[in-house]
Symmetry: none
Subunit: 235 residues, 2 copies
């Protein structure tokens, strides 16, 4: 899952970022609202962590704007105790949860896990194509009834393809998805992960487009494309 953290405090922000990353998610960290707007404009997140007091505006306005734009991404508000009245307003404005600072990182993990399960569950809890059964929630994959465990990184790479079935992803794009910054290194890390995913899930799970990148194998592509009506926002 990809998480957008909007928080201007460098220490708290870094701690939260590390915690989320440790849970196996990908984090983008924006310290200002305008940066956050850039992020949501270009990336689809599974969760937004939102501080309410930011240098260039109120987090609540950001939340309201997102909801007005029919964005139903789950939002968890990070609020100081003295802004607790804002909390009510936040929930009214469409937040899904809140945490009072200072909060326990374990609790943060729990909340995020809940969202992740819901997130994974909402669009497509269980995908079955061919002999593959993919449970987005538990990150478990069964292949012909046999459970296959992907490691954290492997899953993130695989997830990049599941997010946009049919898309052709260049190695640079996958790298960015993995590390959420321009890792302009010369390395074949992506190739290695593709190789490992293939060995675990079947060689035709991802196909190589030489000189361009990779994309889901044919069966998977069509299976996913069919049940992705792109604007699924249940009431």
């Amino acid at each position: 899952m990809r998480v957008l953290l909007i928080e201007d405090d460098p220490i708290l922000g870094a701690a939260v970022r590390d915690q989320i990353a440790a849970d196996g998610h990908t984090v983008d960290w924006a310290t200002r609202l305008d940066l956050a707007r850039d992020c949501v404009a270009t990336v689809t997140y599974g969760l937004v962590l939102l501080d309410l007091m930011l240098p260039d505006g109120r987090g609540l306005d950001f939340l309201k704007a997102r909801r007005a734009a029919r964005d139903s991404t789950p939002v968890i508000i990070l609020t100081a105790r003295d802004q607790i009245s804002d909390r009510i307003a936040g929930l009214n404005a469409g937040a899904d949860d809140y945490l009072v600072k200072p909060f326990d990182l374990a609790e943060l993990s729990a909340r995020i896990g809940a969202v992740a399960r819901r997130y994974a569950g909402s669009p497509n809890p269980l995908v079955e194509i061919g002999d593959l059964a993919i449970d987005m929630a538990t990150r478990m994959i069964h292949r012909g009834g046999v459970p296959v465990a992907l490691t954290a990184r492997e899953w993130v790479v695989f997830e990049a393809f599941l997010q946009r079935p049919g898309a052709l992803l260049s190695k640079a794009q996958i790298e960015e998805w993995l590390y959420s910054f321009d890792a302009e290194v010369e390395s074949n890390t992506i190739e290695v992960y593709i190789g490992r995913i293939r060995r675990k899930l079947g060689h035709d799970i991802i196909e190589t487009v030489r000189g361009m990148g990779y994309r889901l194998g044919r069966k998977l592509r069509e299976g996913r494309a069919a049940d992705q009506p792109r604007n699924a926002n249940p009431p």
Copy 2:
């Protein structure tokens, strides 16, 4: 839509920014070319507004570099009247439109609106002509329902034609598009690629204009021209 404004004049820049924002678009404003490069490196824009005289270089070089990098984002040039010769060069370099300063903000709105409509109309640029279905995003082509795989180079050559449907491209032009430098070699590479594309997509996909070059076949030409009203300026 997201717009990148490259303009060093603070007053004009602010006015343009506000106008675009009032039209409901998102604006990033770069006052120098290096900042603009940062922007296009990290964000995908729907439109670029480009001043030609900038403190750290010529806008034209920026445009050429983008086109050389296969970026087909629409670009509208903002030019002073005494740079009108540059305007021609700009259009040759791949600009989509131009505005002579001082220009009417309403006119700017109209031009941007045209681009936005085109932009919105093709979120997933899928072209279907005859038995061909071309997905520009995933670089996938289906012919009569059967997927056809073009190699990287083949695609780039084919793309050159799709970019400007109806255009007659000389072998020299295609070579330059392929290698982005003057490959003054005596070789029949282009002929070979045309041949390979024809074999994969059908022989009438590209027609030969003896002594001049090549252009898209008739059906394709008309099909593309129809959904590319390149000069839409509604009242």
